[in-house]
Subunit: 152 residues, 2 copies
């Protein structure tokens, strides 16, 4: 992730976010965190190599998505577990969007459900400032004028 942050992409929040989350395994680690996993050994189970896991967990901590938190189980030595921060929790729409696309366009597997705390299913949608749902095909992404962006 370097050429992706050339001048043309420097000011793009997509490119900048991918600089953090676009690394291989990061989004899958975040998925595990949302599923309640916190320990190194638990993250390992998804198939990430140890050499990679250490580095990615560190990246995620550095980027503020996870925090290390000491814990100790009875009869075990103290260890660190990895907990989602607010910034990490704020990444849920990214996972939700990936799930949504995958379930629509890469059938036939549907292994995840998104629900409220009381079990009602939810989906990701675009809403306008009145809270009204807007059809995704009616939404456009546009560059803002950004007059203040100086190359220095």
């Amino acid at each position: 992730m370097d050429a992706m942050l050339l001048p043309a992409n420097r000011s793009c929040p997509i490119a900048r976010t991918l600089g953090v989350l676009g690394q291989k395994w990061n989004l899958l680690l975040l998925r595990e965190a949302f599923l309640g996993r916190t320990k190194y050994a638990e993250f390992l189970r998804i198939g990430v190599p140890t050499a990679t896991l250490g580095a990615r967990l560190q990246d995620l901590v550095d980027a503020g998505l996870l925090t290390r938190h000491a814990y100790q189980e009875k009869g075990e030595r103290a260890r660190d577990e990895y907990l989602l921060t607010q910034a990490g929790r704020d990444a849920m729409p990214i996972l939700a969007a990936l799930i949504g696309w995958g379930e629509t366009h890469l059938p036939p597997v549907t292994a995840y459900a998104m629900t409220t705390g009381d079990g009602r299913p939810v989906r990701l949608a675009f809403v306008d400032d009145t809270g009204t749902v807007v059809d995704a095909d009616a939404v456009a992404i546009a560059k803002k004028p950004e007059g203040a962006a100086t190359p220095g």
Copy 2:
């Protein structure tokens, strides 16, 4: 993207989607497509190396997110342009989610705006089945029982 599709991730729509969109540059190419770019030379301007661009464009076509469409400008030879398919357009929430996270957690740059056709700003939100907006922090991702998932 191979170890990411181990048994533990095979049935995960996140991992499967990342198999297509997780490649370096793909999401940025999609961003350009949403901004209206269609030509090879236009995509090149974001800084992707030519050697990579050909491969990624092919991937995106193979995955059904873009289609090749012949066009010819006056006095120019016929060429192919790359147009978003419905599957490609359906990826907009992914970009929207990345933008949303980046604008919140990687200030101070804000270069994109999401709007409806008539210019009203929109944002991504979780809604329940009645169309009511639900706070993202109240949403949980859970594995479905997936009793019916057969390995064939």
